[in-house]
């Protein structure tokens, strides 16, 4: 039982502490060559889950490569890659129940891929067309899925972290045995929201898992200019929270750590902080050029720790995966992404009315009036509004059912 007050042990000379005597180790199971460390603890990842994880990792890599290229071609306004961090994101998601809530930052599309978000759904959001459930209101990569228990992304950093604490508190009260995983970067962990979230989770014994992707950089700012302490993991102690640091490019370690974190959260109502040590192999976003703040040499050293290659070797070693299978899958995923993209970018934009819906449940009269004025204005100047004028007199097609994509064949959603 946790004491309500810290133990007070008197000393009679001044004793300061800065935490340096606590060194948090890095939990790792899989060596960079894909073999398991001697003396490694039990590995609970079974073949179907391992294959589902790897397919989602491959899918995410293919999606990111293709969509960055689309951005470079001017077909897409913006893009952000998960590249290099797939194991941290997908390994943690795989250790959850598929009905557990995920509240991510913006670089976690791998979690959606694992849960079976379809290529159509990715593309409709990216192109903000009429089938995007958020009606093209947000920038690309701001996905959300009620069915897949994935909160719609919000750009401001760290805002989802205390929300995760609140959501998980509700899950605890509901008694449905689910928890919430919130994912964020080490930069976001500097925000006040992060500290508020951890404190409240600890005080109220909330089933929430805080997963920090410590990928080395917040845009250009290296961790050495982000914090002076022992990473993010050590911050849990101030809130008396369970904490673990894990090799974020080691799929086995991420999976095992999150699995145990989930047990602690759901069975013991103990919130957990996981710090996944990883690296953002790509730029911060399509608007960023990392050559201004980090070296090629550094990037290359992390390419050698690529989480996909590492897992691939482990799978092949166990005969759970084959190179031929990977070639075929990669080819078919590339085709699927390209073809789906071509359709999505041709779809019509959202209906004009979606500008004013969802602001309130019921649109206030003044806003309705603004929409009417806007429509009349567009009718006066149709040439100036190619995204809305051509469809003013057509009923919106509505959001057709998304066909299930092939990549989730092993039980996505």
């Amino acid at each position: 039982m946790k004491k309500t007050q810290p133990t007070v042990k008197p000393v009679h000379t001044p004793v300061f502490a800065n935490g340096d005597d606590i060194q948090i180790p890095v939990f790792t199971l899989l060596k960079p060559d894909g073999t398991v460390y001697a003396g490694a603890g039990p590995i609970s990842l079974d073949k179907p889950t391992a294959r589902r994880i790897y397919r989602a990792m491959l899918y995410t890599r293919v999606l990111d490569e293709r969509m960055l290229a689309a951005q470079r071609q001017g077909r897409l306004s913006f893009y952000m890659q998960c590249t290099g961090e797939e194991a941290a994101v997908i390994g943690s998601t795989a250790a959850l129940d598929d009905a557990d809530m995920i509240m991510a930052q913006y670089r976690e599309q791998g979690a959606l891929a694992y849960r079976g978000f379809t290529t159509d759904e990715f593309m409709d959001q990216l192109f903000g067309n009429e089938r995007d459930p958020a009606h093209g209101r947000q920038m690309p990569i701001h996905y959300g899925s009620k069915d897949l228990h994935y909160l719609t992304i919000s750009s401001p950093l760290a805002t989802q972290i205390p929300q995760a604490t609140g959501y998980a508190y509700g899950q605890k009260l509901a008694g449905n045995g689910n928890c919430t995983l919130t994912i964020f970067g080490e930069g976001a962990a500097s925000e006040g929201d992060f500290h508020a979230a951890l404190n409240m989770a600890s005080v109220h014994k909330v089933p929430v898992i805080f997963l920090c992707r410590n990928n080395g950089y917040a845009i250009s700012t290296p961790v050495t200019e982000q914090f002076a302490g022992d990473g993010i993991a050590a911050r849990a102690f101030g809130y008396r929270m369970q904490s673990i640091r894990v090799d974020g490019n080691d799929i086995l370690a991420v999976f095992e750590a999150t699995r145990e974190a989930r047990r602690l959260a759901v069975e013991e109502n103990e919130p957990v902080l996981i710090e996944a040590m990883t690296y953002r192999l790509a730029a911060h976003s399509s608007s960023d050029d990392p050559s201004g703040y980090r070296s090629k040499k550094e990037e290359e050293s992390w390419h050698r720790k690529d989480p996909l290659r590492r897992m691939q070797r482990w799978l092949i070693e166990r005969d759970w995966w084959h190179e031929e299978e990977e070639r075929e899958l990669t080819e078919s995923l590339r085709r699927e992404v390209l073809e789906t993209m071509k359709q999505a970018e041709k779809r019509r934009p959202p209906a004009l009315e979606t500008l004013v819906t969802d602001v309130y449940t019921e649109t206030p009269p003044l806003l309705r009036e603004q929409l009417d004025e806007l429509e009349a204005h567009i009718r006066r100047h149709p040439d100036a509004y190619p995204k809305s004028a051509p469809w003013l007199d057509e009923a919106p097609a509505g959001r057709a059912g998304h066909p299930q994509a092939a990549h989730s064949e092993e039980g996505g959603a």
Partner: protein
């Protein structure tokens, strides 16, 4: 004179201020060696060292709180918030601290040296969180001065004046114009007056009032209207609060018509404040109702951004309504 864009003019102003006064410091997320995500602080760390130009951890409330403390100590902090959309975690520090520091202490303490810079505004496919125009929130906290420049020349002169002003200033930079707006900028150290609107073009039929990036929009609308024979007077408010009532009122007394335009939503936007004041000062001189051409009362959208924006054609429609009232 040098030809430069608005971003270079901001950089030049910061460089000028740091060279002239060693108490001036520039900091914020990514502003160090990287020079900021827009490069507004390029080379400042190289020139003035890491003690005076540096990256902060990613925490806006911390950046502004830290800046308040520095200003109280007598330094001259110029804090960057990466996007105006991300200023809200610092709202408490601005509303309850920056705005009230002098008043609550009876001038024992002040943060007059503080300037907060933030890129604002739409038109860059930025969606909800890279497009907002939050000037009206900050117009509702007496003690804060809010300044918005429209071009490179204005940006340098107004930013230098803001940094040296004896009151804290929030300086919103129109990021859509960062590279798009290019013009001649004096190489020397100069200031443009705060709290003074500028009549950018004289006219007799109607007054068009805006600030920042929206100036370009009303200029385009005025060009179209002039071809139809409507003479437009254009005013750049420049300082949102405390605002230059006299210049605006004098113009409306002459033209009898006023359109105020901003990207922010209509309800509670600063155009509402201007309209209320002008109607009370110019009631008997008004030929038509004061029009507000603004964004919609919705969050800022993406795909239908153009539909949301108060573009030149919407201003032109309003000119027609006003002239034909």
């Amino acid at each position: 004179m040098s030809r430069m864009n608005l971003l270079q003019a901001v950089n030049d102003a910061l460089d000028t201020a740091m060279a002239a006064d060693e108490r001036v410091l520039c900091f914020g997320e990514d502003v160090g060696i990287f020079g900021g995500v827009f490069r507004a602080t390029s080379h400042l760390q190289e020139k003035y060292g890491r003690a005076r130009c540096f990256n902060t951890p990613l925490v806006e409330q911390g950046i502004v709180g830290f800046a308040n403390g520095l200003a109280a100590q007598g330094s001259v902090p110029v804090a960057e918030i990466q996007f105006a959309d991300y200023i809200y975690p610092a709202f408490d520090q601005l509303v309850n601290e920056t705005a009230k520091f002098r008043y609550r202490s009876g001038n024992l303490f002040d943060v007059g040296g503080l300037t907060v810079r933030a890129p604002y505004g739409g038109g860059i496919a930025g969606g909800h969180y890279h497009s907002q125009s939050p000037e009206a929130y900050f117009a509702h906290m007496p003690g804060i001065t809010v300044v918005v420049p429209r071009n490179p020349h204005q940006a340098k002169g107004l930013l230098l004046a803001s940094i040296r002003a004896p009151d804290p200033v929030i300086f919103f930079e129109p990021k859509r114009l960062y590279r798009a707006s290019v013009g001649e900028v004096p190489d020397d150290d100069y200031e443009l007056p705060l709290r003074q609107a500028e009549v950018v073009k004289g006219g007799s039929d109607i007054t068009l009032l805006a600030w920042g990036a929206q100036m370009e929009v009303i200029e385009q609308a005025a060009e179209m209207a002039e071809k139809e024979g409507v003479s437009c007077e254009l005013i750049d408010l420049r300082t949102i609060v405390p605002w230059d009532i006299e210049t605006v009122v004098q113009s409306v007394l002459k033209t009898g018509r006023l359109i105020v335009s901003h990207e922010a939503p209509l309800t509670g936007g600063f155009a509402s404040e201007i309209a209320a004041t002008v109607q009370s000062r110019c009631f008997l001189y008004l030929e038509s109702p004061i029009e507000r051409v603004t964004g919609l009362d919705t969050p800022f959208p993406l795909t239908l951004e153009k539909e949301y924006m108060p573009g030149p054609l919407k201003v032109l429609d309003a000119i027609h309504r006003t002239m034909n009232f």
